[in-house]
């Protein structure tokens, strides 16, 4: 008995299936290479991720799938577990880029040169990409846990480093707690609607006759609990406690990965769950909408103001990443294709920017054994190219042209103004000015201050050079030709809202 599986179902999962194959290949390859050539495992992962990236783009260009024209019923696959639409494609590509770039950056870190590290990176990527595609609460939960469990281990991976072990433990404790709270909320949703598919739940909740009005209180409770789980993933205040500690203690290349891919996956589920309307219609009339707006404002402000006082660059970047989540939430709360597209564009630019940034932090940290701000003193004389990469990345984070970050913020604020939320855009812009202070502080260290070791350039391997060059190329490319990319994400986000009409 062979089950009758449509070709499009298999094609939609081709990247994930390839990731599983790559995972097993990495384990096998790790046994075959000599201990002295362990860095080739990382190269294999990077090449594999690149090949899967090409495969995904190929399927999309040749087969025209997923297309934004496909109706909801046709884009739901595997018993409604996943939805193959533009959004899942955009996020899938993001995660593959993050995997390739992070493995390039980590392959020179000696204590991470193990097959297990890269295998767990791949498992986390698999979880993230299924999270972004999942259209069912059960699928969402399993995918989220796959990604989380891999991440806990990755954070504690450098077991000989006490800080890393501690980071892994803290990440685990906070993470396990947040997901069980989220799970309780999800079980209530199932109890009210008897469904687990997001779109079935959404249509029931939005159709006033199918569930009684008393359910609204239960729905709100479920919304708060589910937001706790998702907020943990995107490190939104007040679920951000873990962020600085994990960023400081975990291995730097993994921090680059978790700060971008994990955040993007969190936003993907945020966008999908809320636009499907499982807590009520996706507009500004509901209680949870006000809650999200408040979260966005507090997240931005707290992140930026605390970041000013940080001396350790990884902690500073942690608070900066909290603040960046706040900006991205503005796009989310507009609840429009423009806003969601802007959030996705923002995450895309943040991905290139932040992995490049953590790449430089890793190189400098490895050489100077310190990630305090003053280890960046005189970097422009020591390694001008690295300083340049860092400069562009910091400009992008603070939103200064000609980098991608400028358009990232521009599209978000424009979507907010178009949606009538000009005051929210204003808060965002004021925050961007505050952020300028601490980003430029690092630039000041690199270009104006001197250090005793200026004659010793920081060694950079070819693989890392290529990785950083490609990332910065995209930061600048998106900073000049942002239009087509934004059109792409905006059209993809349209899939969220097409079904409401």
């Amino acid at each position: 008995m062979t089950p009758d599986i449509p070709r499009s179902w298999v094609l939609a999962l081709a990247p994930e299936i390839s990731l599983v194959i790559l995972l097993l290949a990495v384990f096998l390859f790790d046994r075959l290479v000599k201990p002295t050539e362990r860095r080739r495992v990382g190269l294999l992962t990077a090449w594999g991720a690149f090949a899967i990236l090409l495969l995904t783009v190929g399927i999309w260009l040749v087969g025209g799938e997923p297309s934004t024209q496909t109706g909801l019923a046709d884009s739901l696959m595997w018993g409604g577990m996943i939805r193959s639409d533009g959004v899942s494609l955009v996020f899938k590509l993001m995660f593959l880029v993050a995997l390739a770039a992070s493995s390039l950056i980590s392959l020179d870190v000696e204590r991470l040169q193990r097959g297990e590290f890269f295998a767990l990176l791949i498992a986390a990527t698999l979880g993230f990409s299924l999270m972004a595609a999942s259209a069912d609460l059960i699928m969402l939960y399993v995918a989220l846990e796959t990604a989380s469990i891999s991440s806990y281990i990755l954070a504690g991976f450098a077991t000989e480093d006490r800080k890393s072990a501690e980071a892994g433990m803290k990440y685990f404790v906070y993470g396990a707690f947040a997901t069980s709270v989220m799970l309780y909320g999800m079980s209530l949703i199932y109890g009210i609607t008897t469904q687990t598919n997001l779109y079935l739940v959404g249509s029931m909740v939005m159709n006033a006759s199918s569930i009684p009005a008393e359910a609204n209180a239960v729905l709100l409770l479920a919304a708060v609990m589910i937001v706790a789980g998702f907020g943990f993933k995107i490190s939104a205040v007040p679920f951000h406690f873990w962020t600085p500690d994990i960023y400081e203690g975990a291995p730097t290349p993994f921090v680059g990965f978790v700060s971008t891919a994990s955040k993007a996956a969190g936003f993907a589920v945020f966008l999908r769950v809320f636009s499907a309307g499982i807590f009520g219609a996706p507009d500004s009339s509901s209680m949870w909408w006000a809650m999200l707006v408040a979260m966005a404002i507090i997240t931005m402000t707290l992140g930026n103001f605390v970041a000013i006082f940080q001396k350790n660059i990884k902690r500073m970047l942690a608070y900066s990443s909290i603040a960046q989540a706040g900006y991205a939430m503005i796009g989310l709360v507009t609840m429009s294709p423009d806003g969601s597209g802007a959030t996705m564009f923002y995450l895309l630019m943040y991905l290139f920017t932040n992995i490049a940034l953590f790449g430089v932090v890793m190189l400098v940290g490895k050489e100077t054994n310190s990630v305090e701000m003053d280890s960046f003193n005189g970097l422009s004389r020591r390694s001008p190219h690295l300083a340049l990469v860092m400069l562009f990345a910091l400009l992008s984070l603070s939103g200064i042209p000609p980098t991608a970050g400028f358009f990232g913020k521009f599209f978000i604020f424009k979507a907010a103004v178009d949606a009538g939320l000009w005051w929210l855009a204003l808060v965002g812009i004021l925050n961007a000015f505050v952020a300028l202070y601490y980003y430029l502080n690092v630039v000041k260290c690199m270009y104006l201050y001197r250090s005793d070791e200026e004659d010793k350039p920081i060694p950079v391997s070819r693989a890392v050079k290529v990785g950083l060059a490609v990332l910065i190329f995209f930061v600048l490319y998106l900073g000049v030709f942002a239009g087509p990319a934004f059109e792409w994400t905006r059209e993809a986000a349209g899939a969220f809202f097409a079904l409401a009409g």
């Binding site: 999962l13 577990m81 498992a123 846990e145 796959t146 281990i153 000989e160 239960v218």
Partner: protein
Amino acid sequence: MDPTIDQIIFLIVSILTLGAGFVVVTNRNLLYSALAMMASFLGVAAIYVLLDAGFLAAAQLLVYIGAISILVIFAIMMTRRLMQSTETSFNAQWGMGIFTALVVFGLFVAVIGNFWPLAPAAGQPLASGTAVPDGMLQDSIAALGRAFVSVDAFVIPFELASVMLLAAMVGAILVAWPKAEDEV
């Protein structure tokens, strides 16, 4: 209204489960906590039996009592020097903890009790388990098994769970491996 037999059983099991749960979160000796946790899991398994979910009750016995509790007790024994410490096992937030837990519980009771009535009249929906043919409940295990491997149901999360278990296994071995042999 006189309580029926299954209501009495339910109440006894609930009190056992919650009482054991209370010991888990309050006892200073971790080993007692772990044993109480096993008792609490046993109570939950009995609840599954009351809910006609025999398979899940068996899985609960195997996974929670058989595996997770043993794992926890191993971990406690391996870190046993800590159990001799006489200092308090609660952090400074315990007062806040009680407050939070009570507020959350009150909220749950208010919200859930409002939607699903606490003392419904006999005729009301959900006052008792939906009357279903015995065959359906007996068939539920087979239906569950089919659902796990059916392409129209849970095959993708099922396969993903296997990847997750692989990642967890590899990761747990790696993280817990003694460091002296790290270079081997």
